[in-house]
C-alpha cells in the first residue's frame, strides 16, 4: 500500500473520485445509495446532510472502505476501494483515514493518552515510535485536554468526543471522516468539537467529510451536499 507511515510534516493530499457508485442492501428494492459522479479535491471539506435513512452512513461506509460492497468506483488518488479485499481496505484506512463517530468508542479503563494511541498500537506489531507519545500529548493539548493520564471513563461527554477527535488525527490522516460527531453533545460542547474538527483538518490539509444536520457545520463548511432517498440532490458535482 502507499501508506506513508513515518509521520510526514504535511499530510498526503487525497482527492476522491466517485463514479457510478451503487450500494444495495439485501431486501431493499431501491439502491440505498446511488452516486453517478462525485469528486472532492485534496484538502477540500464536504458536509453531507439529509433526513434519517437517506443513506448518509451508507455513503461514509463506502468512502472509508468500512463496507466493501457496492458497484462502481470509489477512488482516493486512484485507489479504488471497491474491489479491494477487507484486509487491504483495513490497511488503507489505517494509513489514510481518521474517523470520528457519534459514539465515542473509548475504552473507559484506559487513560486518555492510551485511548488516543490505541489504534496505532493495534495497527502494527512491536513498539510504537516514542515520538508518537509526544505527538499524542501535543494533540490532546490542542483539543483542550491537559491530563493525558486521566481515565477515559471519567471524562465528560464533550471531553470524550474531543479525545476521539485527537485519536482520529494522531496519524496525520489525509482524510478525516465524521458521522454525526455532535449529535450526542450539548450545543456548547458540539460547537467546540465542530470547531476543532474543521480547524484541525484544515491545518493538516486533510480532506474532510462530515455527515451531520447540525447547523454548526453549515457555518464552517462551504460545500454542502444533500442526500435524499440515496441520491444527492445538491452539491454532488465538482467544487463550486
Amino acid at each position: 500500500m502507499s501508506a506513508p507511515k513515518s509521520a510526514p510534516k504535511s499530510a498526503p493530499k487525497s482527492a476522491l473520485a466517485i463514479r457510478d457508485l451503487v450500494v444495495r442492501y439485501p431486501g431493499l428494492d431501491a439502491p440505498a445509495l446511488e452516486v453517478p459522479a462525485l469528486t472532492l479535491a485534496a484538502g477540500e471539506a464536504l458536509l453531507v446532510s439529509g433526513p434519517s435513512g437517506a443513506g448518509k452512513t451508507t455513503f461514509l461506509n463506502a468512502v472509508t472502505g468500512l463496507d466493501g460492497r457496492g458497484q462502481g468506483v470509489v477512488a482516493w488518488d486512484g485507489i479504488n476501494l471497491i474491489g479491494l479485499s477487507e484486509g487491504a481496505r483495513d490497511r488503507w484506512r489505517a494509513g489514510h483515514v481518521g474517523l470520528v463517530m457519534q459514539d465515542f468508542h473509548l475504552f473507559p479503563a484506559l487513560s486518555v493518552r492510551e485511548n488516543v494511541m490505541l489504534p496505532q498500537r493495534l495497527a502494527r506489531w512491536g513498539r510504537l515510535p516514542p515520538a508518537l507519545r509526544t505527538e499524542a500529548d501535543a494533540l490532546l493539548v490542542r483539543v483542550g485536554l491537559d491530563r493525558p493520564q486521566q481515565r477515559a471513563g471519567t471524562l465528560s461527554r464533550g471531553q470524550k468526543q474531543r479525545t476521539a477527535v485527537a485519536r482520529a488525527l494522531l496519524c496525520r490522516p489525509g482524510i478525516v471522516v465524521a458521522d454525526e460527531p455532535t449529535a450526542s453533545l450539548d450545543p456548547v460542547a458540539g460547537h467546540a468539537v465542530a470547531e476543532l474538527l474543521v480547524g484541525l483538518a484544515a491545518n493538516l490539509g486533510a480532506s474532510l467529510i462530515v455527515a451531520s444536520h447540525d447547523p454548526v457545520f453549515a457555518a464552517r463548511i462551504a460545500r454542502h451536499a444533500r442526500l435524499e432517498g440515496g441520491r444527492f440532490v445538491t452539491g454532488e458535482g465538482d467544487a463550486a
Binding site: 484506512r93 468508542h105 489504534p119 493495534l122
Partner: protein, 415 residues
Amino acid sequence: MIRFVLADLGTRRLGALLLVLIIAFATGLGVLVTLQERALRLGSARAAAAFDLVVGAPGSETQLVLSAVFLQPAPLTLVPGEVMARLSADPRVAFAAPVGFGDFAGASPIVGTTTAMLRALGGLRAGHGLEQLSDAVVGAKVPHALGDTLVPMHGQIEAGGHVHAGIAYHVVGQLAPTGTPWDRAVLVPIQAVWQVHEHEHEHEHGVGAGAADDDDDDEAHAPLAGPVDEAAARRADAPGVPAIVVKPVSIAAAYSLRQSFRGHGTLAVFPGEVLARLYGTMGDARKVLALVAAGAQGLVGAAILLVVMAEVMQRRRQIGALRAFGAARGAVFALVWMESFLLLALGVVAGVGVGTAGAWALSAGLERQAGIALPVELAGGDLLQAGLLLALGAGAALLPAVLAYRQSPAEVLRG
C-alpha cells in the same frame, strides 16, 4: 497489548472473576478425584507395608486385612493357639506376632501383641517395650504420655462401653510414627488381653467394638501383674487370636507359607494382594467419578465458550470500532484470543490449586478419622494433563477470536 487486555478485563472484572471461578471449580473437581484416589492407594499400600502375610481363621480375606492392618473392629473368628505355635516354629518364618483386639482406651483400640510387632511397626521413639503384663506402648498419635495410666473400656465410649473394674495399663513406651492406624493404637501384651477376657473364651469370637456381650463387667478382675512370658504366646495350648502377622524369611518362603496355611482351618493372605483386588473394584468407581468430573469439565467448558462468544457478539460494535480506527484484523483476533485464554488459564491454574487444597483438606480429615496418612502427591502426569487442558482451552479460545476476526467494521457507524 497485554496492558490493553488487562485493562479490558479490569473493566469487567466481576464477570471475568465468575468465569475464572467456575472454570476453577470444574478443574478442581477433576484434580480432587485424581489426587484423592491416588492418596488412598498410596496411603493404604504404605499402611500395609509392614504386613507381609496375615494368617487368620477362614472367612472374608478383606475383613481379615481390614482388621489386622487397619485395626477396623470386627468380630473375627479366632485361630487356635496351635497355629501360632506352628508358625513360630516354622523355619520359613522370621517372626510371627499375634494381633488380639481387646477393649478401647478412649478412642484408641487396645491391641494385644508381642514385642516382635513393635519392631515390625518401626520400633519405639521413647520408653521401653512390653515387659510387665500391665505395660502399654502407645502409638504416636495416642494422646497419652509415658507414665499415664489407661483404663480399658469394653467398647468405645461413644458406643456405651463400660470399665473393666480393677484393670489398668501403664504407658511405658511410645511407637515412632507410622502413618497407619497403628498410630492410634495402644499395644499391650497379648497375655493381658487374654487374662482380661478369660471368661469369654468359649465365645469363640474376638472382642469387637460395642459387642454387646452380657458378661458381667462390673465383676472385679484380678489385677494385671507380673512379667510377660513371651514364650507362653507360642505354646500350642495358648488361647486363640483373631489374626497373626507373619514376617517370612524370603519371598519364596512367603508364597510357600501362604500355600501351607490356606485351608485346614486357617486362611493366609498377602494384604498387598487383597488391597490390589480392592483397588480393582475401587478403580471402576474412580473411572466413573473421573468420567463425571470430565463430563462436568466439558459441560462447563462449553458453557464458558458460549458466554465468551455471546460477549464477543455483544461487543461487536466495540470490536468493529477498533477495526474502523485502523487496528489490524490480526491484532483484534489476538486480543480476543488472549483475553479468552487468559481467563481459561487462570481458571485452570486456580483449579489445580483448589483441587490440591481440597485433596489436602480431605486427606487431613480422613487421617483424623481413620488414622491412615493419605499422601497428596502431584505426579508428572498431572502436569501433562493440566497442559492438555490448557492446550484444549487455547484451541477453544480460537472460536471467539475467529468470531471477532470475522466481525465487519461496517456496522460501527450505525448506533
